[in-house]
């Protein structure tokens, strides 16, 4: 079985084409093939496949990518709610 998908239209992934230098790091580190680089620029192929691990943003030397990273884990989010913490990782 290939290609699980989770909910559409929720990923916090943002990409600035203007800032992109086309180095290709995002394409390398993304575990879900969200990015592809062609003609010196990266491009988002399928944003809904993003699981917000944050690898692309951490490894983008141009700072062209932002994402609110974290672990998509219900238990962690519930504990976060209970402890009154707004931050999720």
């Amino acid at each position: 079985m290939e290609g699980f998908r989770y909910l559409d239209g929720v990923a916090s992934l943002r990409f600035s084409e203007a800032a992109c230098t086309g180095c290709g790091m995002c394409e390398q580190v993304c575990p879900h093939r969200v990015f592809a680089v062609a003609r010196g620029k990266a491009r988002i192929l399928d944003k809904d496949l993003c699981m917000e691990c944050g690898s692309c943003a951490t490894n983008c030397p141009a700072g062209a990518i932002s994402v609110r990273p974290g672990v998509g884990c219900a238990t962690a989010i519930m504990k976060g709610w209970l402890s009154g913490s707004e931050e999720k990782t």
Partner: protein, 395 residues
């Protein structure tokens, strides 16, 4: 402090291969916003000495920076047993390898450096794939947590890579300036910051250790296939035992409450009813857990919908209908309704918690799903409870 590798029996006295990391690893700041305590594993730094050394170290290799222990590439019965213990959630926080540099085969100044985590299951998964290779392994102190989870917490992170590179004096051990990191270390490691911090370049290798050989043979190039994370049945099943074990304790407490509630009836409280009705309720709870933690992961690609709560409810629904049909003579209408509501709801909730074990759910998505599903689950639980307790009065 000098006790590093003292446990290695039958080998010459082994000096500290890594003077900077002798003794406990210094306290380090968690990544801001990190929720290390919310996820798997504790956060105590790893000791430099671990009880597993004598099992996988088979000698020392001399380097300009001093002797380095050589790790075997064979996996023994003990390693297999250890892996199974981990799969069942036994002693996970203690299953660690001492951080630092290791040799595989006969590496020299030109040999590649593979960076990994100090969870022993991770270390084993890597070394078993290195037969016939001469490479270095740099083990980070991820506090006994696997690469991806540790990267999410930041313990498999830029700072730790830089610190370990310096502590192992890699500049003297090798003549090149390249580290091969597992791709899933990416969330915690900023490749360009590592270069800035210690002069070593980061090359991201494949997701799975089993692709390392092909990756190296292709001149450190990963195919798109090697870079993609899938979630095959084998991996989904491997997670089921540890999920079940994790649910055992909360389920036990909940069962206790159910047994107490079960005694409530027309005669105020009945021990007999507490036993019989309590047992039935505990069975429903067990069925729900089975639906959410086993059936849902197994049937994941075939259960319709995207939300795990929906998939879990459906898996639980199948079990509920089967149980209701099986016990149709023993169940009154109220009890049947309670069963048909409770089992799918429990399964739905448990399945929703399985999101944390999957490699494709985003926190934004899980939060959205939970905001929608939790109120429904709570309402249906209350309704099931009313039918169940009410059923005792209306028999």
């Amino acid at each position: 402090m000098r006790a590093l590798f003292r446990k290695v029996v039958g080998n010459p006295p082994m000096p500290d291969q890594d003077p900077c990391s002798s003794g406990p690893v210094r306290e380090r700041g968690e990544r801001p916003g990190g929720n290390a305590s919310f996820c798997c594993g504790d956060s105590k730094p790893s000791r430099v000495e671990t009880p597993f050394h004598d099992r996988f170290v088979d000698g020392m290799v001399d380097t300009p920076a001093g002797p380095v222990p050589r790790a075997r590439v064979t996996i023994g019965a003990r390693d297999v047993l250890g892996r199974w213990s981990m799969r069942w959630g036994m002693g996970r926080n203690r299953y660690r390898v001492a951080p630092g540099l290791y040799a595989v085969g006969d590496p020299d100044q030109l040999s590649g450096i593979l960076v990994t985590a100090n969870y022993k299951m991770t270390f084993d998964a890597l070394r078993r794939e290195l037969t016939g290779l001469n490479v270095w392994i740099l083990v980070l102190d991820t506090r006994g947590v696997n690469v991806w989870c540790a990267a999410g917490k930041g313990t498999f992170g830029t700072e730790e890579v830089v610190r370990r590179v310096k502590a192992a004096m890699l500049e003297e051990v090798v003549s090149h300036r390249r580290l091969i990191l597992p791709q899933l270390g990416g969330p915690g490691v900023s490749a360009h910051q590592v270069t800035k911090g210690c002069g070593f370049q980061v090359v991201y290798g494949p997701v799975h250790a089993r692709d390392i050989k092909a990756f190296l043979a292709a001149g450190m190039r990963a195919t798109p296939r090697m870079r993609q994370v899938l979630f095959p049945l084998r991996e989904r099943l491997a997670l089921a035992p540890v999920e079940l074990v994790g649910l055992f304790k909360p389920a036990g407490w909940l069962s206790l409450v159910l047994f107490l509630l079960a005694g409530i009836g027309p005669g105020f409280f009945s021990i007999g009813a507490a036993w019989h009705r309590g047992l039935a309720a505990a069975e429903v709870l067990a069925g729900g857990i089975l639906g959410g933690a086993v059936l849902t992961p197994v049937l994941l690609p075939w259960l319709p919908g995207r939300a795990f709560s929906a998939k879990g409810a459906l898996a639980g629904g199948i079990l509920a209908v089967c149980s209701a049909a099986l016990y149709r003579d023993a169940l009154g209408a109220f009890h049947a309704l309670a069963l048909l509501l409770a089992l799918p709801v429990i399964s739905s909730f448990v399945a929703m918690n399985f999101t944390g074990a999957t490699p494709f759910t985003s926190p934004s998505g899980v939060e959205k799903e939970m905001r929608q599903a939790l109120p429904v689950q709570a309402a249906l639980t209350a309704l099931a409870g009313i039918f169940w307790v009410g059923g005792a009065f209306l028999r």
